[in-house]
């Protein structure tokens, strides 16, 4: 258990050089969506009377430490009172060791917390994580789980020492630009989550590829209709013209590849034949398997 006490003024004057200065500052941050979901899950599973939760962020850094990719995270129990905060170090260490075994590349890159504003112990915890993430600086991710302004307002911050003497509690949090990462496979998972949000029952049933494609086409159609209506509106003068949108639409139209119709029909035919051939072969195989199965029962 790590006990971090808010030092009294007198003692902090005596103490100095407690903060490990980070050699390189982080400049860009990429966040994986799983991290955000983990934080929310942790917040939902917090103990009674606990206002905020904190945890360790894991990820990888570029060699120079400027770019950081937050890939996963885990929860760390902690306990706050008026004048002191306790972080369960043992839990943090053992969880990190366990994570290390499954995904060796991920390092400690920082920590997360929930809440609409920074806790008064943020600087102290930041100091602790800076030491964990040394020689690089630690990143602090905040999610507003109170939904002030109806938003989760995810923020990435980095600590920057202020004042003449380096004290752990002298720390200013500066915003860090971040981007969310959506690998293709995750997009499909998020799509399912989005579908669950839309459905009335509150859950999404996984559907077949064909149904998914149908939905895609329907949405595409709806988009086309909206754009057509807009363009017609502009032509009639009922909508305000907008250069940006016009430019955008022109680019969209320009990306439709122009293929000679003869060439296209050859391509189309051969491709179609391939597909039909494959379908025929697989169906044949399936029929064979079924026959074999039925025969086995007779034997």
């Amino acid at each position: 258990m790590l006990n971090l006490n808010l030092p009294t003024l007198a003692s902090s004057i005596v103490k100095s050089g407690a903060t490990t200065m980070a050699t390189t500052t982080t400049q860009q941050c990429y966040v994986h969506p799983v991290v955000l979901f983990s934080v929310l899950d942790h917040y939902l599973r917090r103990n009674d009377n606990q206002e905020r939760v904190i945890g360790t962020l894991l990820g990888v850094r570029s060699d120079d430490g400027r770019v950081i990719e937050i890939r996963s995270c885990f929860a760390v129990p902690h306990f706050e009172t008026e004048d002191q905060v306790e972080v369960d170090m043992e839990h943090h260490r053992s969880m990190f060791a366990l994570h290390k075994r499954a995904s060796a590349r991920e390092q400690i890159v920082g920590w997360y917390a929930t809440g609409s504003k920074l806790s008064k112990y943020a600087a102290l915890i930041q100091d602790f994580y800076s030491r964990e993430a040394a020689p690089f600086s630690a990143v602090h991710l905040v999610m507003d789980t109170d939904l002030t302004d109806g938003q989760l307002s995810i923020k990435c911050l980095q600590g920057s020492p202020i004042g003449a003497g380096a004290h752990p509690e002298n720390c200013m949090f500066l915003p860090l630009p971040y981007e969310l990462q959506y690998p293709d496979a995750e997009l499909t998972a998020l799509q399912a989550a989005a579908d669950s949000k839309e459905s009335e029952e509150g859950y999404a049933v996984l559907i077949s590829d064909m149904e998914q494609l149908e939905k895609s086409i329907e949405e595409l159609k709806a988009m086309l209709e909206r754009v057509t209506a807009y363009v017609q509106g502009v032509c009639k003068g009922s909508e305000k013209p907008n250069n940006v949108i016009g430019k955008y639409l022109m680019d969209m139209l320009a990306v439709v590849p122009k293929i000679d119709s003869k060439q296209f029909s050859t391509l189309f035919q051969t491709h179609l034949q391939d597909i039909l051939m494959v379908a025929y072969l697989t169906n044949l195989t399936r029929a064979q398997l079924n026959i074999a199965d039925q025969l086995q029962r007779i034997v």
Partner: protein, 414 residues
């Protein structure tokens, strides 16, 4: 502590009180909605699997990072009223040495997670696959051991196919359990043709598939909404679109960018630079009635090209499986012929010795040892894989055709 010791009663009285309470315990007094929770004997059959987006994302991430190696991990959650809720998942390292290491790792991890109030009961495991032919002896064995353990009897295995998810643009996550027929045969350890026929076990019913649903907490839904519509606030519609076009971190913008990615760099530039700070876009007409309209489904759902690569691979592995199938069939025929030979010889022997004393069955058996039938399990699994693969190919052809005709329509309009 001192308060407790004061109130403490001798152990025996406590025990007696407990039994007295148990005796007066009336089952009918339990509220109806609590009955499923107390269903200790597992009388309610498992009907579906409900997975939290968090667990889905963890599985997807693990599978993607170690793609194409097949990986697995543990699922945590709760079973209630026939619905298996999977709320958490964690990866199990692939390079772990002994069985003991593996178990220790899982126990430690579960203990750590319990400290932060994560559901600590194991409800199964997950495995990633590449082409959909995941059926194999190890998978069946592991699942059998899960289903055999008393406190995790309703375990499932979730199969995630990264390639299929990426290319089809549709999450490929399936939940399976071993069928009762298969478990029976495992118990007996017999996999002859007759046993299979008697229990009605075919390649199609070794595993039972359960429907999978995805459901997140309300907060998670809020997060998804925010990812779809980053920084919407209560701004005007055009502000929305400007941000939408400009912020690359949004789901939607990401999808849009990918849609254009390799075709037009110009379009991306527009999205990134020009839109910034343009006042009064007047974009109301472009905004959808419902927000979902703007979130395109993953673009790959409309892509044509990639599918061919995996198709070739699928066909290759299909060829291999068919070869194996033929090999299995030949082996079986070989055994059948051998067996017939022995039986013939035995019949002839009996015929010849008709006039003399009858030879006891036992001696006959000793002289003409009947060949034991080779286990049909391998052949069965092979067939099951082949069936899975062909089914996947057949199913992928529908969308492929549709996409082709869409492309054709586009070209004709030109």
């Amino acid at each position: 502590m001192s308060g407790e010791t004061k109130n403490a009663k001798p152990m025996t009285t406590l025990l007696n009180e407990e039994t007295a309470q148990l005796a007066t315990f009336d089952v009918s007094r339990i509220p109806k909605q609590l009955l499923p929770v107390l269903d200790v004997e597992k009388t309610v059959a498992l009907t579906k699997v409900r997975v939290d987006p968090l667990a889905v994302l963890k599985i997807v991430k693990h599978a993607r990072e170690s793609h194409p190696t097949s990986v697995n991990g543990q699922l945590l959650g709760l079973e209630i009223n026939g619905v298996l809720e999977v709320t958490h998942a964690f990866p199990v390292p692939t390079q772990l040495g002994s069985e003991e290491d593996m178990t220790n790792y899982q126990i430690e991890m579960i203990q750590c997670l319990r400290e932060v109030n994560v559901d600590s009961s194991s409800v199964g495991w997950y495995q990633s696959t590449r082409l959909g032919d995941f059926m194999g002896q190890p998978l069946l064995d592991v699942q059998a051991s899960y289903q055999a353990s008393p406190n995790a009897a309703s375990s499932v295995v979730l199969i995630h196919d990264t390639t299929k998810s990426e290319q089809g643009g549709n999450l490929s996550l399936r939940a399976f359990r071993l069928s009762a027929a298969y478990l029976d045969l495992v118990k007996k350890g017999e996999f002859g043709t007759k046993d299979l026929a008697a229990r009605g076990l075919t390649f199609a019913n070794i595993l039972e598939e359960l429907p999978v649903q995805v459901e997140g907490s309300s907060l998670a839904k809020a997060l998804v909404a925010e990812l779809q519509w980053p920084a919407t606030g209560n701004g005007a519609a055009d502000q929305l679109l400007a941000q939408e076009l400009q912020r690359p971190s949004s789901f939607n913008a990401k999808l849009r960018a990918r849609r254009l990615a390799d075709r037009s760099a110009v379009a991306d530039d527009v999205a990134d630079d020009d839109v910034a700070g343009v006042p009064g876009l007047g974009a109301e007409g472009l905004l959808p009635v419902r927000s979902v309209g703007f979130l395109g489904r993953p673009v790959a759902a409309l892509g044509l090209e990639q599918a061919d690569v995996s198709l070739a691979r699928q066909l290759e592995s299909m060829g291999e499986l068919i070869d194996e199938h033929v090999h299995d069939a030949n082996q079986w025929m070989y055994w059948k012929r051998g067996e017939a030979k022995v039986r013939n010889a035995r019949a002839q022997f009996v015929e010849r010795r008709k006039d003399q004393d009858e030879v006891p069955e036992k001696e006959l058996d000793a002289m003409f040892r009947p060949l034991p039938e080779p286990s049909r399990l391998d052949a069965l699994l092979n067939t099951a894989n082949l069936s899975l693969l062909t089914k996947a190919v057949t199913q992928s052809r529908g969308p492929a055709m549709t996409k082709m005709y869409m492309a054709q329509a586009l070209q004709q309009d030109n």
